[in-house]
Amino acid sequence: MSKGDLHTTPERVLETRGLTKIFGGLIAVNNFDATVKKGEIFSLIGPNGAGKTTVFNVVTGIYKPEAGQVIFGEKDITGRKPHQIVSFGIARTFQNIRLFQNMTCLENIMAGQHCRAKAGVWSSIFSFSAQKKEERRIREISESRIEQVGLERFRDELAKNIPYGSQRMLEIARALATEPMLLVLDEPSSGLNAGETEVLMGFLKELIEKEHLTILLIEHDMNVVMGISDKVAVMDEGKKIAEGNPEEIYNNPRVIEAYLGTEEEA
C-alpha cells in the first residue's frame, strides 16, 4: 500500500453491502460484500458465470440490485443511473469492447469528457465564447489522453478500424476522460497478446502512481492478477468465497476447488 499513496491510512473508495441480483430464478450475485480502498488495484476473479460482470453492472448502475447497497466514498449510489454514477467518479470498460464504432478515436475520448462539460443547446448553436472555451478544453484533455495511451496516430480513424489491442486502450482512455476516481475494468487483457498485456500492466500501475486512481478489475489472466493486484476477491456461483492478497489466494484450497473442481468430481 505504499504505491505513491499520500495517505497513511487508506480510505474506503467503494463498498458493497449484501449486494444481491436475481435474474428470473437465478441468483447471479448473492449477498456480496467487498471494500475497495483508495489507491489499490482490487481484482475480482472466479470461473465463468460466477457473477463478476453482474457485480460490475450493479456498481455502475446498469442493473438495479434486488437487495444491498453500493457506497461510493460517503455516498449511497445504489440504483442510480449509469450517467450519474459516471459523474460521481466511477468509469468503466466492457468485457466485449463497446466503443462508438463509427466515430473517430478522438471523438470517442471526447465523449468521455461530456459529463465534465455543460454547454447547452443555445450556447452551442450560437457558439458563445464560454462554449468555445469549453470545447477547446475538451479537445485538449482528449488529445492528451490519446497521447497517454499512445494512439495519436489513430486520432482521426474510426474506432472500428483500429486494431483490437488499440481498441482496448481506447476504451480505457475514454473511461479516463471522464476524470474518474475509480476505474472499473472488465477483463482488460482479454484478447491481448503477451506484449500488449505487459504494456497494459505497466500502464495500470502508472495510473495508480501518477493519477492516484483506484482500480477495480475483473481478470482471467492469472499473471496479470498476481502481478498487479493489491487485493483479490474470488467469486463462485454468485458468492464471494475468498479474499486476500495474491499469495493468500494463490494457495487457498477453496479457490483451487472452485476453479478445478474437487478431486472426487475430477
Partner: protein
C-alpha cells in the same frame, strides 16, 4: 496529407459558393411554377433536417414525424385565423408548440427500443392526423382543414406574398438551420447524440444521460418541423389533414436515408430527390410513382449508406464552417 486536405477543402469551398450563387440567382430566371417547386424543395429540406436530428443523429426510428409538422402548421393556422396573430409571431410559437407536444408525447415512451419506438411514433402521427380529421372543439375544420391563413408581414408594405419572397424566406431559414445544426453536430450535444446512436449502454457508461438527450433530439426535431409547418401553412393559405399522413412521414424517412444519416448535404440531396423527382417526371404521368419506387430500390442497392454519407475525421463539406473557425483558433 495535410496539403491534400486543403486542396480538397478548397475545391469544396468553391463548390459551396457556386451552389449558393445558383440558389440566389435561380428564381430570377424561371417562372413562378419553378420557384414554387424550389420552395417545396426548401420545405422538404427543412423537414428532412428536422427528422435527421432524431433519425440521423440519434438513430431513433421516427415514422410519425409528420405529426410534429402538423402541430406546427395547425398551431399557425388556428391562432392566425381565430385570433389574428401575425404569422411571423407564430413562427416561434409553432416551433415551441411542436416542441412541447413532442416533450409530452415522447417522455413516457422514450425508453422503448428500436421498432417498438417506431410503431409508437407511427401511432402518434396517426393519432394527430385522425384527431385533426375529427375536428375536436371545432378548431381544426375536419377533413377540409383550416383556410384563410395570412401572409407573413413585417409591418407596413413589407409583406411576403409572392413566390419569390417565399422562396427566399424558406431558404434563409434552411441556411440558418444548417448553420445551427452544424454547430450542434460539432458540440458536446451532437457527439452525445451520435454516441447514443452507436451504443446506448456505452453512452450511458461514458456519462451521457441517454433518455434526456433522446428527448432533446425529439424536441428540437419537432420544433424545426413546427417551423416548416408554419411556413407551409402560410404559403398554401390553408392546411388539411391529408398533408400530414403516414405517407408523408415515410417520405421524410426516405429523405434521411437516401441522403445519408446525419449528413447535412445528404439531406439536401434526399429532399431534392423526394420533391423534385415527381416534378421532373411529370411527363410519365401515371408511371412516375412506379419509376420513383424503382429508383428508391436501386439507390439503396447501389448506395446503401446514402448518396452523400457523413464522413468523420476527414475533410468534410459540412464541417466547412467549423473548420474555418478552427483555423482562427
Amino acid at each position: 496529407m495535410e496539403r491534400e486536405k486543403t486542396g480538397f477543402f478548397g475545391s469544396q469551398q468553391s463548390l459551396l459558393f457556386a451552389i449558393v450563387g445558383i440558389f440566389i440567382i435561380y428564381p430570377f430566371f424561371v417562372s413562378n411554377y419553378y420557384i414554387d417547386v424550389a420552395f417545396f424543395f426548401g420545405i422538404y429540406a427543412l423537414l428532412g433536417l428536422s427528422l435527421n436530428i432524431v433519425l440521423g443523429e440519434v438513430g431513433l426510428f421516427d415514422l410519425g414525424h409528420a405529426g410534429f409538422y402538423a402541430i406546427g402548421a395547425y398551431t399557425t393556422a388556428i391562432l392566425n385565423t381565430k385570433l389574428g396573430i401575425p404569422i411571423l409571431v407564430l413562427l416561434p410559437v409553432s416551433a415551441i408548440a411542436a416542441g412541447i407536444f413532442a416533450y409530452i408525447v415522447c417522455s413516457p415512451i422514450i425508453h422503448l427500443r428500436g421498432d417498438y419506438l417506431c410503431i409508437v411514433t407511427i401511432g402518434m402521427g396517426e393519432i394527430v392526423r385522425l384527431a385533426l380529421i375529427n375536428n375536436p372543439f371545432d378548431l381544426t375544420g375536419g377533413p377540409n382543414g383550416v383556410y384563410g391563413i395570412d401572409f407573413p408581414s413585417f409591418g407596413g408594405p413589407f409583406v411576403i406574398d409572392s413566390s419569390i419572397e417565399y422562396y427566399f424566406l424558406i431558404w434563409i431559414i434552411v441556411v440558418l438551420s444548417i448553420i445551427g445544426l452544424i454547430r450542434l453536430q460539432n458540440s458536446r450535444i451532437g457527439r452525445a447524440w451520435n454516441c447514443i446512436r452507436e451504443d446506448e449502454v456505452a453512452a450511458g457508461s461514458s456519462g451521457i444521460d441517454v433518455k434526456s438527450y433522446k428527448l432533446l433530439a425529439f424536441v428540437i426535431g419537432a420544433a424545426l418541423a413546427g417551423v416548416a409547418g408554419n411556413i407551409y401553412a402560410s404559403k398554401l393559405m390553408a392546411v388539411s389533414p391529408e398533408s400530414f399522413s403516414f405517407w408523408e412521414s415515410c417520405m421524410l424517412f426516405c429523405i434521411v436515408l437516401i441522403g445519408g444519416m446525419g449528413s447535412i448535404p445528404g439531406i439536401l440531396i434526399g429532399a431534392a430527390f423526394i420533391s423534385l423527382f415527381p416534378e421532373i417526371f411529370r411527363p410519365f404521368a401515371m408511371y412516375r410513382m412506379l419509376v420513383f419506387g424503382l429508383v428508391m430500390i436501386l439507390m439503396m442497392m447501389f448506395r446503401p449508406g446514402g448518396v452523400w454519407p457523413r464522413k468523420r475525421g476527414g475533410p468534410e463539406f459540412v464541417s466547412l464552417l467549423s473548420r474555418m473557425r478552427k483555423k482562427d483558433v
